[in-house]
Amino acid sequence: MIEIAAGMFIVLALFFFISGSIGLLRLPDGYSRLHALTKADNLGFGLLILGLLLLQMDLLIAIKLLLVWLLVMAASAVSAHLIAQRARRQERGLWKP
């Protein structure tokens, strides 16, 4: 039962990861690619952590997994901010793919 739930979370996570990558490839503009990257990948990572939490019922591992999740969220947010600021600074508007 738990394994089925974990499996579902992981499948959802894979869906978001793949759509994030496809978005990075196919979206026309740097700013929109940034959206695809940070939002989709972060959501996918969170769902992956959720699935892995269900599969490993160990307290120490669970705490570490949650810590990794928090860090990846913070890192992605700051990276997205920095990349977007840099793009704006160079005044790259919409650029052709």
Binding site: L71, A74, V78, H81, L82, Q90
Partner: protein
Amino acid sequence: MEALTSWQILDLLLISALLALAWTAMAAKDLRRAVALFIAFGLLLALTWVRLRAPDIALAEAAIGAGLTGALLLAAASDEPDPVPSGRISAAGVVLTVVSAGLAVVLGWVFVATVQQADSTRLAEEVFANVETTGVSNPVTSVLLNFRAYDTLLELAVLLIAVLGVLALGPARAGYGAPGPVLSLLARRLVPLIILVSGYLLWAGAHAPGGAFQAGALLAAAGVLLRLTGTTNGGLPGDGAFRTLIVAGVAVFLAVGLSLMLAGRPFLGFPVAWAGSLILAIETAATLSIAAILLAAFLAGDPKHAAANRGSKTWQRTHKTQGHANEL
């Protein structure tokens, strides 16, 4: 049947991605692009080590190969104007090509020989048989700091010599400006956490993947983050304390080895009862040394003078002309 194929897909994609990243990083037309690709290559290589069941190396590759080397290359690249390829075949180019080709042949031969002798006795079995006598339970740490402790001592000495070269470059470069709110928040929250994780890796090195090199590299990464967000020396102390830090690793190692000789044992021959504590003491000193040395390399000079140089007229004059060189 299905499980085998998915491993093959994973391995094939990993190998092609590694090769493609390595090639494009070398062939990139400008240095920043090359460094970005190189950082991605390092991250992927760390993943490959996980795939190959080598978590110690994965930790070291993630900390050193992905994070620190990228930052170091960038700090060096920002001063150099992009090289213009001349199109002529130079003697140095020919020599390099021949040497690289020879190296590739040797590596290929080593690989084939290893695969063919897959069933002979390996050193790893000897190590696993004797791990309990070393005072630690992680076989990698037992090799690094007990069976081959002399090699590790020499590696730390090489690092020390390298930092002497860095110090000879003169004062550290003037640092970065004050960061905006997002970056300063990241630095404030992340640096204590990195220090904590570094201490954890140092401690865990005795019984799990980890150890002095990984912990030291992570600590240096914390210093790099500090420097990038405006702290002049990245948290390094100046002068006397700094010199103590960089020497600490080799000094403690030597002190332990020599006092063991005074006690009648061979150089670095740990008694089984004391081995664990001695190794921990050596690793702690080594962590601090490695962190200080790597950070000094990122600073590209002696941290003592950096703060003093900040407001001087000479510095302002030099950096006005270099301002445009930092564009991508």
